[in-house]
C-alpha cells in the first residue's frame, strides 16, 4: 500500500513518513505541490496525504488537478487550517477526509485505515482464520472472541507470513525482508518490539506466537 505524503514543512514530512513506514506503508514524500503531481504520475499511490498551505501550488490546487485525472484514489488533507470553510473547501474539491493539525498519531492512522477500507472495499472480503483469531488483512483489523483488534499494516504482514508457514518457524531475516523490505534496515530489536506489540493485542498472544530460540517465531494454531 503506497502513500504519497505532501508537506512543505521538512520536519513534519520526515516524521509523518517515518511513522507511516513503521505502520508498514510504502511512503513517497513530496515537499511541494508540483513535486506531488510529478510523483503521483510516477508511482500511482493508493492514497495521497496533502498539506494545504504550501509555497507555489497549494494543497487545494493539487487536489483539484488530481481529481481531474483520477476520481478514485483517496485524498486526505492534513492541515493546520482548521476553520470550517477550509474543511468544506477541501471536501468539496473531492478529498475523502480532513485531519486538523495538531493531530494525534492514533487518529491519523485510524482515519487512513478507514479511508482505505472505504476506497477499496473489494480488498476487504479476504478473511483468514488463525486459531481463534479472524484476520481481515486488507482492512487492517482482526477479531477474537467477538472483540475487534486494530492492526498495523506491518502486523498484518507478520501474521500473513506466520500463516503462510503453517506453524513452521519463520526466521528473523525472513521477517525483516518480507515485512520491512530490502531497502529498510531495522535491527533485531525492532522485530522483537513489533512481536511484543502483536502479542499484547491478541489474547493469549504469547502462547499463539511462540519464540523459537535461535531462529525466530512460529504460530501455534
Amino acid at each position: 500500500m503506497k502513500i504519497l505524503v505532501t508537506e512543505d514543512e521538512p520536519m513534519t514530512l520526515e516524521a509523518l513518513g517515518e511513522l507511516l513506514r513503521m505502520e508498514g506503508f510504502d511512503v513517497v514524500e513530496a515537499s511541494g505541490g508540483e513535486m506531488a503531481l510529478k510523483l503521483w504520475e510516477e508511482v500511482h499511490p493508493d492514497l495521497v496525504c496533502l498539506d494545504i498551505m504550501m509555497p507555489g501550488m497549494d494543497g487545494y490546487e493539487v487536489c483539484r488537478r488530481l481529481r481531474e485525472k483520477d476520481s478514485r484514489t483517496p485524498i486526505l488533507f492534513l492541515s493546520a487550517k482548521n476553520e470550517e470553510k477550509d474543511i468544506v473547501a477541501g471536501l468539496e474539491l473531492g478529498a475523502d477526509d480532513f485531519i486538523r493539525k495538531p493531530f494525534s498519531t492514533g487518529e491519523v492512522m485510524a482515519r487512513i485505515k478507514s479511508v482505505i477500507r472505504r476506497a477499496y472495499p473489494e480488498k476487504g472480503s479476504r478473511k483468514i482464520q488463525m486459531a481463534d483469531v479472524v484476520v481481515w488483512p486488507d482492512e487492517l483489523r482482526a477479531e477474537q472472541n467477538g472483540l475487534g483488534i486494530e492492526l498495523t499494516l506491518r502486523e498484518v504482514k507478520m501474521l500473513l507470513l506466520l500463516e503462510e508457514k503453517k506453524g513452521l518457524p519463520v526466521s528473523r531475516d525472513e521477517f525483516l525482508d518480507r515485512c520491512w523490505g530490502m531497502d529498510y534496515f531495522p535491527d533485531s530489536r525492532t522485530l522483537d518490539q513489533h512481536v511484543h506489540m502483536l502479542r499484547k493485542k491478541i489474547e493469549g498472544g504469547s502462547e499463539l506466537i511462540e519464540t523459537v530460540r535461535g531462529v525466530g517465531y512460529r504460530f501455534r494454531g
Binding site: 512543505d8 514543512e9 521538512p10 520536519m11 487545494y60 493546520a80 525492532t190
Partner: protein
C-alpha cells in the same frame, strides 16, 4: 459589512430628503398688497355724487322746460320731446285741478305698458297697485314753480309733477327702472375714465347706485357711501393684491448645510465602522494565523514524541534524535509565544531594565544554531560573519528576538534562494547586524508596508506559507525602543535587513 453600507445609504437618503424638503420650503408664495389711496377714494366718491346730482338736475330742468311748453295752448311736439327723455312714459296736463291734455308713450312691443293716472275720487283705477293716484284737490292748492312726487304701490312707476303756471300742473309718468338704467348708464360713462385712472394707480374700485354697479368689479375693502335725494350710491375700493413666487435662499442654504452635516456624519460613521470592521477582521485573521502557527510545531512534537517512544527500546539513539527535534520545536513554539506576548504588551516596556553584559556574536550565533537543522532541511547554506565586538551592554533578549524573527522569515519565505548570510559589525558607536537572503525578494510596492503589523508580503492563502505577520513589526519596535533601527535596504537580487543598535559606553 452589509449593515455598514445600509447605514451609509440611509444617511445619504436622509440628506437627499432634507435637500428636497429645503427646496420645497424655500419656495414661497407672497401676496403683495397695494393699499387704496384714501384721498383717491374720497375724490371718486365726490365725483360720483356730483355727476349723479348734475344728471338729475339736468333732467329736472329738461322736464320743467317741457312742462312750460305743454302749458301753452298750442303745444306740439311734446310727445317727441318726452320720448327723448329716457324713462318718461307720459305727460298729463291739469288745469285748475281738472285733467286736460295728455301725451302717453305706449312704447315698443314687449315693453311695459304705461301705468294708469287717475284722480282720487273721480275715477277708480283698473289696477290699484299700479296706478298713480293723484290726491283729490292736490293741484288746486299748488302754486307756480312747485313740484312733487307720487309713487304707485308697486313702485314700478311714479309721477313727478311741476307747475309751470299758476293753476297749471304737468304730471310726468316715469318708469323707475328705465329712468334708473339711463341714469346709471350716463353716470357710468362719465365716471369710467376716473375709475380706470384709479385702477392704474393701484386700487380696484367700484361704484354702486342703489345697490347696482355703476363701474368697477370685485369685492371691496374700503367703501365710501353717500345718499342723494332719491337714491343711495356707493364707491367701494379694494387694495390691489399680487401673488408672487419667491425663493428663500436662507432656508435653502440651511437645508444644504443640514444635508451636508448628515451626509458627513454618515460618511464619518461609515469610515470609522469600516476601520473597526477591518481591525476586527485583522484580529480574527491574526488569531487564525497564530493557531495555524501553533499547529505546525505541535504536530512535529506529537509525531517525534510518538516516533521516539516507539524506538526508545529498540533504537535509543534514534529516540534521542527525535527528542532533540521535539526540543527544537519547543524553542520555535516559545519564540512564537514570545512574539504574540510582545505584541500584546507594548514592545519596549521597561526594555532598559533588561540590559545585560554579553557578547552579541554569541547571542546571534545561539539563534542561528537553533535554526541550523531547520535551514539544513531546506537546503539553505549559512554564511556567518561575526563582528568580534567583545562584550557589550545590550538587551540580549530583544536582540535575539529580532534576529530570530529575521532568520525565521528567511526559513519560511526565502528558502528558494538556498542562502542566508548573517553578519555583525561595529562602527560609529553602534552594533550593525545584517540578515541577507537571495529568495524571491519583496516587491517594491510592498516594501513600505512590511513593518506594519499583520502585513505580509503575500496575504493570500493560495500563496500557502503561514506566518502571523507580526515578526517585522515587533522587531522594528524593539529596535526603536533600544534607540536603534531596523530597515530594509535596497540591494539588487538580494533582500537585506539591517539592524542598528547604539552601544552603551561603559
Amino acid at each position: 459589512m452589509g449593515k455598514i453600507y445600509f447605514g451609509l445609504v440611509l444617511t445619504l437618503l436622509v440628506s437627499i430628503v432634507v435637500l428636497l424638503a429645503g427646496g420645497v420650503l424655500a419656495k414661497r408664495s407672497v401676496t403683495r398688497v397695494t393699499s387704496v389711496d384714501r384721498e383717491l377714494l374720497k375724490d371718486l366718491s365726490a365725483k360720483v355724487a356730483s355727476v349723479v346730482s348734475e344728471r338729475k338736475s339736468e333732467r329736472v330742468k329738461a322736464l320743467e322746460e317741457i312742462a312750460y311748453e305743454a302749458a301753452k295752448p298750442m303745444a306740439d311736439e311734446i310727445e317727441a320731446k318726452i320720448s327723448a327723455l329716457p324713462g318718461v312714459r307720459g305727460a298729463f296736463l291739469f288745469q285748475e285741478g281738472r285733467p286736460g291734455r295728455e301725451w302717453v308713450l305706449l312704447g315698443r312691443v314687449g315693453s311695459r305698458s304705461p301705468a294708469e293716472v287717475v284722480v282720487q275720487g273721480v275715477k277708480a283705477p283698473l289696477i290699484a297697485e299700479r296706478a298713480i293716484v293723484v290726491p283729490e284737490g292736490l293741484f288746486k292748492e299748488v302754486t307756480f314753480g312747485e313740484s312733487g312726487r307720487i309713487d304707485n304701490e308697486e313702485r314700478s312707476f311714479y309721477g313727478w309733477w311741476f307747475s309751470p303756471l299758476q293753476g297749471v300742473v304737468v304730471l310726468y309718468l316715469l318708469e323707475s327702472g328705465l329712468e334708473e338704467a339711463a341714469l346709471m348708464s350716463e353716470v357710468g360713462l362719465q365716471i369710467r375714465d376716473d375709475f380706470e385712472r384709479a385702477a392704474i394707480a393701484g386700487a380696484t374700485v367700484e361704484a354702486f347706485y342703489n345697490g347696482k354697479r355703476l363701474a368697477g368689479e370685485g369685492l371691496p375693502e374700503r367703501m365710501a357711501t353717500a345718499e342723494t335725494g332719491d337714491g343711495r350710491y356707493a364707491v367701494r375700493a379694494w387694495d390691489r393684491r399680487t401673488e408672487e413666487q419667491e425663493f428663500d435662499w436662507t432656508t435653502m442654504f440651511g437645508a444644504i448645510g443640514l444635508a451636508v452635516v448628515i451626509a458627513g456624519v454618515g460618511l464619518g460613521l461609515f469610515y470609522s465602522q469600516q476601520r473597526m470592521w477591518r481591525a476586527s477582521e485583522q484580529r480574527v485573521s491574526f488569531v487564525n494565523r497564530v493557531s495555524h502557527e501553533l499547529g505546525t510545531p505541535l504536530t512535529n512534537m506529537t509525531l517525534n514524541l510518538e516516533l521516539a517512544s516507539r524506538s526508545l527500546r529498540s533504537q535509543p539513539e534514534m529516540a534521542g534524535r527525535r527528542l532533540e527535534k521535539v526540543s527544537e520545536e519547543i524553542s520555535r513554539l516559545g519564540r512564537l509565544v514570545t512574539n504574540v506576548l510582545t505584541h500584546s504588551r507594548k514592545p519596549g516596556d521597561g526594555i532598559q531594565d533588561r540590559l545585560v553584559v554579553c557578547d552579541p556574536d554569541a547571542v546571534i550565533l545561539g539563534v542561528l544554531d537553533q535554526f541550523r537543522s531547520a535551514l539544513e532541511r531546506r537546503a539553505i547554506e549559512i554564511e556567518w560573519t561575526p563582528g568580534e565586538t567583545g562584550e557589550q551592554r545590550i538587551n540580549s533578549d530583544a536582540l535575539s528576538q529580532i534576529v530570530w524573527n529575521l532568520i525565521s522569515n528567511v526559513e519560511k519565505y526565502a528558502s528558494s534562494g538556498e542562502w542566508l548570510s548573517v553578519s555583525v559589525s561595529q562602527g560609529d558607536g553602534s552594533l550593525r547586524v545584517r540578515v541577507c537572503d537571495r529568495g524571491e525578494g519583496i516587491p517594491s510596492e510592498r516594501r513600505a508596508k512590511v513593518f506594519k503589523p499583520f502585513e505580509r508580503v503575500s496575504d493570500s492563502t493560495k500563496e500557502g506559507v503561514s506566518g502571523t505577520g507580526l515578526g517585522l513589526s515587533i522587531s522594528r519596535e524593539l529596535a526603536e525602543s533600544m534607540g536603534g533601527s531596523l530597515s530594509l535596504l535596497d540591494a539588487p537580487e538580494m533582500t537585506i535587513f539591517e539592524l542598528i543598535i547604539p552601544l552603551q559606553t561603559t
